[in-house]
Symmetry: C2
Subunit: 185 residues, 2 copies
């Protein structure tokens, strides 16, 4: 029987595709193995189990998201940078719902935070510097902005907004609200 030629990278990539297409809940070692033309136990040669797989997915997603946000913030400042980062954040979550969902898992106790997560915080901090924020004040504001973006994106992904009202307009309202709130801080 020929080998499939897998690797931790290939397995994680396939898992990300499957999670994005079918939802993170549909990502099982059984479904992933089937997709890769392999038996479930064979995956243990590349990942340590389903928990490890989800952690890899999260790390992968965080790195991609950080890159997207940095690209969006580059060359922009103030409200323009905020809007660009917000749009990029939402776009990533929409394009990669599985990866974004994996990002939500709680880091295991003792597990150090992903380096990509710090990049994301740093990017938002840089945007907030354009609003004249620094120090703890900026850190609190970063949490606020992150909360707002995360909350919107999560609610949107799970259909939490019931009414038939434009989601794009709602998101624009949110970004404008953040902008006004940050100006006065």
């Amino acid at each position: 029987m020929p080998r499939a030629g897998l690797s931790a990278q290939a397995v994680t990539d396939a898992a990300a595709e499957l999670a994005d297409a079918e939802g993170l809940g549909a990502l099982t070692l059984a479904s992933l193995a089937a997709r890769l033309g392999v038996r479930p136990p064979s995956l243990y040669a590349h990942v340590a189990g389903v928990e490890d797989l989800r952690a890899r997915l999260a790390a992968r997603g965080a790195a991609q998201l950080a890159a997207r946000l940095q690209a969006a913030a580059a060359g922009r400042a103030g409200p323009e940078a905020l809007a660009a980062v917000a749009v990029a954040y939402r776009a990533f979550a929409r394009e990669h719902p599985g990866a974004y969902a994996a990002l939500q898992r709680a880091p295991a106790p003792g597990e150090q935070a992903m380096p990509a997560a710090e990049e994301i915080v740093a990017t938002v901090l840089a945007v907030l510097a354009g609003y004249g924020l620094a120090g703890d004040e900026a850190l609190h504001a970063t949490r606020a902005v992150r909360s707002a973006l995360h909350g919107f994106v999560v609610l949107e992904a799970q259909g939490g907004f019931g009414l038939p009202l434009s989601l794009d307009d709602s998101f624009a309202t949110l970004v404008a609200l953040l902008d006004r709130g940050l100006r006065g801080a």
Copy 2:
């Protein structure tokens, strides 16, 4: 063998306690049955399965949350009402992490939204009326407020905020930011 004297209500209540104490992920029919001194299949006399159980948990949580928010908003207006509702929202999520997590599940397609969810929206809308918002503008603002609160609470619950910085202060910053943002809308 004596009967346990269960009911859909008792099963749901026990499930809520278990989910709040151990996390929604630890809520299985097996663990719930063990807690109730019963065998897993016996639960099917009261709930239709694990999915139905989670839906009941979500409905129960939504009703409780709606009541808490209404109580917080009662007799208050404007910024004071916003702050009170925000604090109540966060307090509920902290006190009932399992119920709040259950609330996040996507409603099944075709399943009508929970009536309690509409109460929550109505409460926030009433608060926003104090900011002079009405119509679609108010609905968009409601989504923004809900996103921010939900995002903060979710990130807090899963330890998503890495830095050793006061969460209370961060939440206060978020509420102040929302207040300023709503004033200018």
